[in-house]
């Protein structure tokens, strides 16, 4: 029992609600947002420390013992992801201050961001699969409003599509949970894992797991990603950065958790499906990054490629691949927020996102250009930046488990990532500028501070890989030895 576990959920929730009451005081909104995210990050950092020294931390909410009450579980995986998510939200908030405009701020932007963060943290920390659904919805409802905020025609259209798809997949989620409850008689993840290990994963259970896989695939943009490029292209860049860093990663986390803890017993069906869905996602994503000639769709398809790559790691499910996946998740959250923020700054300076109309930005903002260059290399996985180690481990795992074909697809997709990043860099930053002095639509200065912070993190996570990997190893431990997780939840004193 440790009350610290609930703080990363409670702090953003309470501060979000508080801000609604002081709607007109934007300065206060900003201050409270930063304090709330920083305080939650401190709690998450402390949780990581506790995970290193004392193992998995749990909280039986309201004193109801598992499996009867809802349990919050902070194992290393959850704490690490919560910490990263909060750092990334901090950087996105900094970018919002300078870029998003008064109208958004007056219409509850910051409270919504806090609710979104609350939902994301909750999804990572919960140990009950129905509670996972609830936190998913908290996160999604905040994202629906953030997406629609502004009310332009394109935004409304994309929001409608996004809401309808997510409503349908959420309904499917409840359906899967109904089947799961009637078949297993419990919804606590540790208890489910125990039952599944005792009784074996029968045919109906595998069907339920496939249903859950479909649901999470929609949320994570694994193969069922057709909604993503549109909806990530519609909102302002700061919000798109937050979405790209957090939303799909929660889906990836859900797949990682469910298929390592509850349904790992029929890998020839579920994990094979994961591997090939990952491969198809990488291939289609690579088509996307080559086909488009505007910044936003290219970045959106990059999100899709990395999702495919991570789920290849989950599908392989050896120790190396899982460690690589956890590491890559951390890297990807940081790098995707970074690249979306920098891309957003390019768009705001040039006033368009079509690459043919952007040129020579390096004369105007050299720092922005070099940050983008580093971020592009990190996404492609060039050493010593952060993408490299994760890719190496996932590919090593894949090759050891004789998934050569998909490993090759993964490598080639990295080349496409590199190509697309350099396409944006070369076309956007090189050459003579179209814009004469004073013609810029925006200074782009607001992206520099968060850009520098996140780039420092990308380099830090790459160079300090040893340190991050020691945490990733701890995160993978309960996945390989499920008893660790089960004991911590069900048999805690």
């Amino acid at each position: 029992m440790n009350n610290l576990v609930i703080l990363p959920i409670a702090i953003p929730l309470v501060s979000g609600m508080l801000m609604i009451f002081i709607r007109e005081r934007i300065i206060w909104h900003r201050v409270i947002s930063l304090i709330s995210v920083a305080a939650s990050a401190a709690c998450a950092g402390w949780l990581i420390r506790l995970n290193q020294t004392a193992g998995v931390q749990t909280l039986h909410v309201g004193g109801w013992k598992a499996p009867f009450g809802i349990t919050l579980v902070a194992d290393m995986l959850a704490s690490l992801l919560v910490f990263t998510a909060l750092i990334v939200s901090f950087a996105c908030l900094l970018y919002m201050f300078g870029s998003i405009g008064r109208e958004h701020e007056r219409f509850f932007l910051y409270p919504l961001v806090q609710i979104l963060v609350c939902g994301v943290n909750g999804s990572f920390l919960t140990g009950d699969i129905f509670n996972l659904f609830v936190f998913f919805e908290v996160m999604l409802i905040a994202s629906y409003v953030l997406l629609g905020l502004g009310g332009k025609r394109r935004q409304l259209k994309e929001t409608l599509q996004y809401v309808l798809i997510n409503m349908t997949s959420s309904t499917l989620f409840v359906t899967a949970l109904a089947f799961l409850y009637s078949a297993a008689g419990t919804l606590n993840m540790a208890h489910l894992a125990e039952r599944m290990a005792e009784a074996g994963q029968s045919g109906p259970m595998t069907v339920i797991s496939i249903l859950l896989l479909i649901v999470f695939s929609v949320k994570a943009a694994l193969l069922l990603f057709f909604w993503l490029p549109g909806s990530y292209g519609a909102p302002p860049a700061a919000i798109a950065a937050l979405f790209a860093a957090l939303l799909t990663k929660v889906g990836v986390y859900a797949i990682l958790r469910v298929f390592t803890l509850i349904f790992p017993h029929q890998p020839q069906i579920t994990h094979t499906a994961l591997i090939w869905m990952g491969a198809a996602t990488m291939i289609l994503g690579a088509f996307g990054v080559v086909a488009y000639k505007s910044i936003r769709p290219i970045l959106a398809y990059n999100v899709i490629i990395s999702v495919g790559f991570m789920l290849f790691g989950v599908g392989v499910a050896s120790q190396a691949a899982l460690t690589g996946t956890v590491y890559y998740l951390v890297h990807d959250m940081i790098a995707k927020a970074l690249i979306f923020i920098l891309g957003g700054a390019m768009i705001s300076i040039a006033g368009t996102d079509r690459l043919q109309d952007i040129k020579g930005l390096i004369h105007y903002r050299p720092l922005l250009g070099w940050l983008f260059f580093v971020a592009g290399l990190a996404l492609a996985g060039i050493p010593p930046l952060s993408g490299f180690v994760g890719k190496v481990l996932i590919l090593e795992g894949g090759i050891r488990e004789e998934q050569m074909a998909v490993a090759v697809i993964g490598l080639v997709s990295s080349l496409f990532v590199l190509y697309s990043m350099m396409k944006i860099f070369v076309q956007g930053f090189w050459g003579e500028t179209f814009l004469s002095e004073g013609e810029q639509h925006d200074t782009g200065k607001s992206a520099l501070l968060p850009g520098v912070i996140l780039t420092a993190l990308v380099i830090g996570v790459g160079i300090g890989a040893e340190w991050v990997l020691s945490m990733a190893d701890l995160a993978v431990e309960p996945m390989l030895d499920r008893d660790l997780y089960i004991r911590a939840v069900l048999r805690a004193e």
Partner: protein, 111 residues
Amino acid sequence: METFMIIISGVLYSVATYLMLSKTLLRIILGTALLSHATHLMLLAVSGLKKGAVPLIGAGAKYTDPLPQALMLTSIVITFALTAYILVLAYRTYLVSGTDDINKLKGSDHE
């Protein structure tokens, strides 16, 4: 009783699917609402209706499992909020773009 409920829920699923495949926004939204009803009904039915006992241990030999109802209630609240939101969103889209036909909404993105 359970069989009957399952059949009803199956009918609701098919009606919802039919509605969601149509082109008018309002019909699609009604479809999602019906889809969630079907799911809630099924959630109640597959967990066993346990004919007429109260959800308290010790009040008699039989008792009803209260959890499915708690799950349903949570899910109903969420769907209710979502339906309210998407109705407003659809109305707003109708005002801005002057159509509620999904095909006509596609169009070009240039504003």
